[in-house]
């Protein structure tokens, strides 16, 4: 076996450029890796920002826009908004971050830090360094941690907006999962507006387990909703609930129309994007439908 065969065997076996897997029967015996602190301050220095802008605009965005067919709507909601804000998006794929960063207006994209799971993206130095450089990530402890809260505060103090995924991790079936409370508390504590973003189709384009978008330029949709500000005296839990409703409305707007979503919201019939109460395969089946395959006809052409 020559050197090329050896390298090919190792690259396949350990899934280079992808996360290597642990055999199922070995998982109970794998201790939780010790959490390590990766400094990410360097990723926000002027030099790193220049590199990131080049990487994002010259590499990641063209790649994402070539491999998928994104449709971006609702950016006008950001007009007149002053940072910092918290961008809150649903999360179903590793494509979500490139799609959102690529769709944000430049002024915003250059000033956004992305919350990334500390136990996933910061468990190996090379992964931490590369994601911090490319996406300006900072570690978020999914189980709560004082150190991370402190870092968030520091970022906001420096004027960075944040991109966070309130579900905590990628959806296993493409539908919206429950929200964790951290984002709501953060907005309430700092009086920050949250901008809901609905990303649809990314699950079908590159679900969990895939390291590259599936061929065929899958249609994806990124829709920004109107910013939501905490009200005086509002609790974190209440704000989280409002944010979820807002995101549901944006999702519904993307799936139907702005008018339909407004009416459904007013009538209290806004369907939660949690998928059909059916076996997993059917949920996955529904979630992988291209978002534009069944685009509704304009409101003025429909009969009621």
């Amino acid at each position: 076996m020559g050197v090329i065969d050896d390298v090919a065997q190792v690259s396949r076996g350990w899934r280079w450029l992808r996360r290597s897997l642990v055999p199922r029967s070995a998982q109970p015996h794998t201790p939780t890796p010790e959490r390590r602190d990766f400094p990410t301050g360097w990723a926000r220095t002027p030099a790193a920002r220049v590199v990131r802008q080049a990487v994002l605009r010259g590499g990641i965005k063209p790649l994402a826009w070539t491999e998928t067919s994104p449709r971006v709507r609702g950016r006008d909601h950001l007009d007149g908004l002053a940072g910092p804000v918290v961008f809150a998006a649903n999360h179903a794929s590793h494509l979500d971050t490139p799609l959102i960063l690529g769709s944000l207006p430049r002024g915003w994209a250059d000033r956004v830090a992305v919350g990334a799971a500390a136990d996933y993206f910061f468990d190996a130095r090379w992964r931490a360094v590369s994601t911090a450089l490319a996406f300006n990530t900072f570690p978020v402890d999914r189980h709560g941690g004082r150190r991370v809260t402190g870092l968030t505060r520091q970022l906001l103090g420096q004027g960075w907006s944040l991109l966070l995924f309130p579900e905590g991790s990628r959806s296993p079936d493409g539908w919206l999962q429950g929200f964790r409370g951290g984002l709501g508390r953060l907005c309430v504590d700092h009086g920050l507006p949250a901008v809901p973003i609905a990303v649809r189709g990314s699950f079908g384009a590159m679900p969990r387990g895939r390291g590259w978008p599936r061929p065929g330029r899958a249609a994806v949709s990124v829709r920004y909703g109107p910013p939501l500000s905490p009200e005086p005296g509002e609790t974190g839990a209440s704000f989280t609930q409002r944010l979820r409703t807002a995101m549901t409305r944006v999702w519904h707007e993307d799936a139907t129309s702005w008018w339909d979503s407004l009416r459904a919201d007013a009538e209290g019939t806004l369907p939660e994007p949690t998928g059909p109460p059916a076996p997993r395969w059917r949920r996955v089946w529904e979630a992988t439908r291209p978002p534009r395959a069944h685009a509704p006809a304009p409101a003025w052409r429909r009969r009621r």
Partner: protein, 524 residues
């Protein structure tokens, strides 16, 4: 706390697994569902080894402290295991050196003048001065070599003492100096469960006559080497130990090491594959390249120069039985993994080293002994493979011998195995001739050759496996060497599975014993 051993079931997420094959390693993809037995992670060492030795000597089990057994004018003999353990040899200082120095410190303080040190080689080759120095340390070597530090000589008619026989009629004859001492201190490294205990003195210091009662095909076939209660061989050792104890006071010091046989730069060899980081993968690739590019002689030299960073996991001293009981408990904690039932096929890769080719060549007979004698017997309760199952081993089995160390092996391979591979026939027809051949005796006593009968013992070591298995297949093995030993050679692992289908069908259950680091199955 170290993680316990585990049995992995190969699934689609499992990376290819490391397999040793002589002076090489490679990654092998195993079929889905293959069980892989991993040993527990390395146990932590005792920390301060000298303090542990001091405590063991001061608070021995079922024995007064060592200092109370010493007096001026006494005859003190210290016997110790030779370089066949541990594998690879330890990084200096060897634990035997530390124990021997501690014993000698006490003896010197009390005024013991008549001290001799004997390496308990039985019928192994004599250790060279350099090897001896590596085991006992420079200080001891300079003080005692060569008059009072020597190799045991199992063929010295004046150097042996017949102590009598056991109630089973087994002759007990051991080194005269040891037998006639006021105190015999035995310093041991128990590397596998078959060693230590009463194997140390009645075997390590024995003559050929005294080895015959247990080193024979009948006894081996009724022995589970690493499960002493189920081993006829160990029962024999036990009986002989009782005879020895009637003649000489034995103070046993047993030590155990953890499961770190490879140095840091080869640390990935000690790891479970899915835990390999980028550095481990790079080191693996580098090792593969270096191995492939290095000339054979250089590769051999580099592998043989490997020294293990073992840590000491236990030091126990005192009467042989209670000491050995504790030693085995530590050893099992390090090596034993529970396995649910037997399988149709047992698989293992054979590394470059076995107890009898340290600084030497692993000839085909030693390959057989390591596979069928040692690795096959890495179980407790019952074998990892069912009766009538198949064994698949990885090794190149080159047809090569060390002319100085293994002269009788050459003849055994050329003459004896050419006629038959049946251990019982070999024993009855050829053993006496080789055991008493004056040239082999001469080489054993004066050169650095294994005794003339030693290749027979190696062959007997596999006797149980030979009668248990229906098929032995060696992946990558030299066809002529394998055929001479009655094995089949396969070019690839898939070919081997195909060949094994003749005896175990097309969907056999597979168990891969991931070894080294040493791994042993407790088969339920």
């Amino acid at each position: 706390m170290s993680r316990p051993g585990m049995v992995l079931e190969v699934d689609e997420r499992t990376p290819p697994l490391l397999v040793h094959a002589g002076e090489s390693v490679h990654l092998q993809q195993f079929p889905l569902g293959t069980r892989v037995v991993y040993p527990p992670d390395s146990l932590p060492g005792v920390g301060d080894v000298d303090a542990a030795i001091h405590t063991a000597l001061e608070s021995p089990h079922d024995s007064p402290p060592l200092r109370e057994l010493l007096w001026p004018g006494m005859r003190l003999t210290i016997a110790f295991d030779d370089i066949s353990v541990p594998l690879p040899p330890m990084r200096p200082p060897d634990v035997r050196q530390r124990v021997i120095e501690a014993v000698l410190e006490q003896a010197a303080a009390i005024g013991v003048d008549d001290v001799e040190l004997i390496s308990a080689i039985a019928l192994h080759r004599r250790m060279t001065p350099e090897e001896m120095k590596a085991v006992v340390g420079e200080r001891v070597f300079r003080s005692f070599w060569p008059e009072r530090l020597r190799n045991h000589d199992a063929e010295d008619p004046n150097g042996l003492a017949y102590l009598g026989q056991t109630d089973h009629g087994e002759a007990v004859e051991i080194n005269r100096r040891a037998a006639e001492s006021d105190l015999l201190v035995y310093v041991n490294v128990t590397y596998v469960a078959m060693n230590g205990g009463h194997k140390s003195v009645p075997v390590g210091l024995a003559s050929y006559r005294s080895l015959q009662p247990h080193h024979n095909v009948g006894v081996v076939r009724h022995s589970a080497f690493n499960d002493p209660p189920q081993s006829a061989m160990h029962h024999s050792y036990q009986r002989m130990g009782a005879v020895v104890a009637d003649h000489v006071r034995v103070f046993t010091v047993e030590t155990t090491v953890n499961n770190d046989p490879f140095p840091e730069q080869l640390g990935f060899l000690n790891k479970r594959e899915w835990e390999w980081g980028v550095g481990d993968q790079a080191r693996y690739l580098a090792l593969r390249r270096a191995n492939a590019l290095a000339p054979t002689a250089v590769r051999h030299k580099v592998w043989q120069a490997t020294r293990a960073p073992y840590q000491i996991t236990g030091v126990n001293a005192g009467a042989t039985d209670p000491v050995h009981e504790r030693t085995l408990a530590t050893l099992y904690r390090q090596q034993l993994t529970e396995v649910d039932g037997q399988s149709d096929v047992l698989i293992f890769g054979l590394p470059y080293l076995c107890p009898y080719n340290v600084d030497s060549i692993m000839n085909p007979i030693l390959v057989m002994c390591l596979g069928l004698g040692y690795f096959f017997n890495m179980y407790r309760n019952r074998p990892l493979v069912r009766q009538g199952g198949a064994l698949i081993m990885f090794h190149p089995v080159p047809w090569e011998f060390h002319q100085v160390h293994h002269p009788s092996y050459v003849d055994f391979f050329e003459e004896v195995l050419a006629e038959t591979t049946d251990p019982a026939q070999i024993e009855s027809k050829f053993e006496a001739q080789y055991a008493t051949d004056p040239w082999y005796v001469h080489l054993y006593r004066n050169s650095h050759a294994y005794h003339g009968v030693h290749p027979f013992y190696m062959w007997y070591w596999g006797a149980k496996a030979l009668s248990h298995l229906s098929e032995v297949i060696v992946v990558g093995g030299d066809r002529r060497s394998c055929a001479r030993m009655g094995f089949r050679s396969a070019s690839t692992f898939n070919d081997a599975l195909e060949m094994a289908a003749d005896s175990v069908g097309h969907s056999p259950s597979l168990t891969y014993l991931h070894n080294p680091p040493l791994s042993m199955g407790e088969v339920r």
